[in-house]
Amino acid sequence: MNLDQKIRNSLNNKILYKNLKNFASAYKISRKNAFNGLDFDQLVADLSSKKSRNRAQINELFELFKQNATSSGAKVYQATNAVDACRYITEICKKHNTEYIAKSKSMTSEEIKLNEYLEKEGLKPIETDLGEWILQIAGEHPSHMVMPAIHKSRQQVAEIFRRYTGEDIADDDIDKMVKIARKYLRDYYFKATVGITGANVAVANAGAIGIVTNEGNGRLTSTVPPVHIVLLGYEKLVADFDEALKVIKLLPKAATGQIISTYVTWIKGQNSSHKNPHGIKETHFVFLDNGRLDFFDHPILKEALKCIRCGSCANICPAYEMVGGHTFGHIYIGAIGSILTRMYHDEKTAHELLKLCIGCKACSKFCPAGIDLQSIISELNIETTEKFGLPAAKKFIYRKVIANPSIFKTTMKIGSFLQIPIISKDKIHLSKSPLPKDKDFRVLPSISRETFSKIYPKIDTNKNSMNKKIFFYPGCAVEYFYPYMGKALVKVLNRFGVKVDIPTKQVCCGLPAIHAGDGNAGKATISKNLDYMPDPSNYDAIIVLCPSCGMAIKEDFPKHMKEDYTKLNLSNKLSEKIISFREYLEKLGIDLKINNNVKVTYHTPCHQGRGLGSSAESYLKAILGENFIPLKDSDVCCGFGGSYSIEFAGISKGILDKKIENIIQTGADIVLTDCPGCVMQIEGGLLKKNLDIKVMHISTFLDSYI
């Protein structure tokens, strides 16, 4: 099945939709409660800096671990790859003549497809984690790292169990299902001679491992059978218990919103086991390389080795919430999954998965190990796109059209003529979508007859009382679709004595090309853009109405201009001074009064909240008082993501529908936001559904109502 088919199937799966939606909403609440009173950012910074290690440092920790772990006779094996690890583990199992193998959940064993290997060798591994066992019986794979069977309904599980056990189980009797699992799995612990677990941490200075479970299956697997094999990656190594406990403090809170998991088990060496002739357990630690060791020295991917496998990057990912881990994942799932797939599995598959990222940055914000997942995804997307290529049409658009401002302008001009037959009565939207039916879920805006650059000189200004000066970068959306938003900004700022300058030529910020994976086109566009940027020291601020442009200027300009000293210098200066219109108003400290009584709510654009780093919520609450109604999940993506909303229209629409549901809940008359892209998406969706709720950019709102 190709990715498109998988996406379609996932989107049509009502159980998946319901389960993931309910989970996402409950998770956010319990996670917030679990971190209540703790300084999350500080905890993350601590863990992240501790886990910054290169290959030599990891090797040192490994040697120390080995020395301590083997003092009681435990064996430590270094497996170079998946087959090597599988073969070693199989040999141990065969040596002990075991038929059954009790297994406690281990993503590393999924990575090397251990069960398949063991089964081919005639062995019977039994997954003892309830979710994993359900999937093992059903012949499926986990769709989430922490909640493997999250895609299954209770009715489906009942059916799986009925078929497997022949017992009578009512469709909704979860208690009975759990009791059945308890009964069946209890036997296997005692039948198995070998138990296999993973490890959440490996403490180097003690030679001990820590295993986290809620069910207690890790304890049983490591206690009842006389042989214990621990399979783990080198990234699980930590220096000491202090570092290990930092992981334990964050992991359950980030994974499921629990304060701590029910069982945290610390094991060192070979403990007592009456089933062995000498009364001592036989213990093996299998350290898996599979490319890891090299990645510890990789400039970007070394960051991904900080992952503690909590799954929060999936839990808060709007795209994952629509399609689940069988579509957005290979073996590892979600944001980290697309990165780990590039590292340990197939690059081509990774290339496809990386494209599923909408770029909302929620994963980076929520990661307890401080991994900037979205940046890594963006870099890898460029890398794999270079290797596997971009569709010809896209390449043409990013390289020949957008990177060249004159051609871009002409193209938009032509577009503005071609659209005439389908312009709707309000003049600013299209009555018919030029897109195919399966991508037509929004009413699209029309291309403005006049660009912002053309309108700008005609705006009335009171030049006399200007005592401040800012530089406004309009970006393509304002320039070609929403010049009235730019006009509103100029009018509002002029009222407060701020002069507004704009670029002499409008050039794209480069983000669309970068997001599509065309790094070269992105770089060329940024370079061209900088030709028309001023020296920021002449201005009070550099201002945007589109936070995506703002974020590109803040982050991508310096990142992509490293080879050009002059432009890098300019980029750094711009990066320091770039803020949004609302942030600037707040900085000015002007006391605004709103002259209307409408109910207003606010959607926080991703690149405003997480890109530029602040939401307008508190500002709007202050100026609107009781007329401001908070929006549930205000900072969750609206599903736009630029060309993402066309390429993955089904996912985009699904995310938008949830946003609209929340908007309706507020009962507001107007939805404010501060990104033209979000306006395009949300307004388009509301119009398509014939809902009488207005969507306005903050600039237009303030110009109309102060």
Partner: protein, 160 residues
């Protein structure tokens, strides 16, 4: 208001539905007589009882905790003894005796205890916070999937 370590322990331990009993050290013996535990391991009072433990499990076990962690409501149980491990894994009801002077504030405070005990060639230490649980079917919380179905914590002050 700042809670004492004991109050905070009770808060988090209650969140996982643990039952709490307050006993003086001198009352423990009679408590053990009233409640016929299959397995007993309380080194501080030199109280032990062994039993056969197989796949059928046992009804009840009582063990002494080495420490408590108030920020998580956790009991730290030294589990080097295989029988103790089996008993705490395979009993229906687990009772833990925790001396209140051994309750630490935060997870990090346990690092020295782990460090010291893991200097041995081998060891097995368990953090236990409530009964065995799962939410793997539609995220519905269900208790007792593999191990104990109930957990009790006896909080004891040292001396009379």
């Amino acid at each position: 208001m700042n809670k004492t370590p004991l109050e905070r322990f009770l808060k988090y331990s209650s969140m996982v539905s643990n039952e709490h009993i307050f006993l003086k050290e001198s009352q423990i013996n009679s408590y053990l007589k009233e409640t016929r535990f299959n397995y007993i391991n309380i080194p501080s009072l030199n109280l032990f009882r062994d039993c056969v433990i197989d796949e059928n499990g046992i009804e009840s076990a009582i063990v002494e905790a080495e420490a408590g962690i108030s920020e998580t409501g956790t009991a730290v149980v030294m589990s080097e003894d295989e029988k103790l491990r089996l008993a705490t894994c395979l009993c229906e009801e687990l009772t833990v005796i925790l001396y209140t002077d051994k309750i630490f504030n935060n997870l990090e405070d346990i690092a020295p205890i782990l460090e010291a005990n893991m200097r041995k060639e081998s060891n097995y230490i368990a953090f236990i916070t409530g009964a065995s649980r799962t939410a793997d079917i539609e995220r519905v919380l269900t208790i007792g999937v593999h191990g104990p179905v109930r957990m009790k914590v006896i909080l004891t002050e040292r001396g009379e």
